[in-house]
């Protein structure tokens, strides 16, 4: 699965995307896996309320299932316009 990071999430984790092999069933489980890995993930995901997630390029919540998913992206609330 491709995992993408944008804005300050990208900066905290230190890379814009990575390939992750996971058996996580939901976005929340994937986050728990990442947080357990390294401090920089723990810092980036310390406040999920301050984050948004897109699953296959559609906005979803953290309970979204990951079965069959190709791409998950994490980022702060958008500030376009």
């Amino acid at each position: 699965m491709d995992v993408l990071y944008f804005a300050w999430v990208r900066e905290r984790i230190g890379l814009p995307r990575e390939r992750i092999e996971t058996t996580a069933a939901t976005v929340r489980e994937l986050v728990a896996e990442l947080v357990a890995r390294e401090e920089r993930y723990a810092v980036a995901f310390s406040d999920l309320a301050a984050l948004r997630v897109a699953v296959d390029q559609e906005l979803r919540d953290f309970d979204a299932p990951l079965a069959g998913v190709r791409e998950v992206a994490f980022f702060p609330p958008m500030t376009g316009g």
Binding site: F6, W8, Q57, F75, P76, P77, M78, G80, G81
Partner: protein, 147 residues
């Protein structure tokens, strides 16, 4: 309907002319143009806009289609830039055409509300003091409840 996510600068006036050409039975055209404002201290060097290629254009297209249907628009235009912009440069533009004024105004307002909170853009301000990600406002999220 035209959606463009681009790095290049554009002329909002030329876009309005192009948008208006060929409209029929539309009595009202509304445009909104967003411009890089300087910081209160006047020390903004640039506004950097990051986006999510792939998702960005699709999400703008979906918003535009919703606006077309909901407000029975004759046409809609959305242009949004990314990359590094100087103060007073145009960031983005929406245009809406409808038979009557109210629908054209509301559709432009609707598009802006959705674009602010649902299109994957992130702004960072570069000033003499460093780089700061622009924080989203609760008011922007609340604005969506109007629709």
């Amino acid at each position: 309907m035209r959606i463009s996510v681009q790095e290049a600068a554009f002329d909002a006036g030329a876009e309005l002319t192009a948008f208006s050409t060929g409209l029929t039975s539309q009595g009202a055209v509304v445009t909104f143009t967003g411009i890089v404002r300087n910081s209160p201290e006047g020390d903004l060097q640039a506004m950097e806009i990051e986006h999510y290629p792939g998702m960005t254009e699709a999400s703008l297209r979906e918003m535009a289609q919703k606006a077309m249907a909901r407000f029975a628009l004759g046409d809609v235009l959305v242009i949004h830039r990314y990359g590094r912009l100087a103060p007073d440069e145009v960031i983005m533009m929406v245009a809406t055409a409808a038979p009557h004024r109210k629908a054209a105004f509301e559709a432009a307002d609707f598009l802006m509300d959705y674009l602010k909170s649902r299109a994957p853009f992130w702004k960072r301000e570069i000033t003499d003091g460093g780089a700061t990600w622009v924080a989203s406002k609760d008011a922007d999220e609340d604005a969506l409840k109007r629709w």
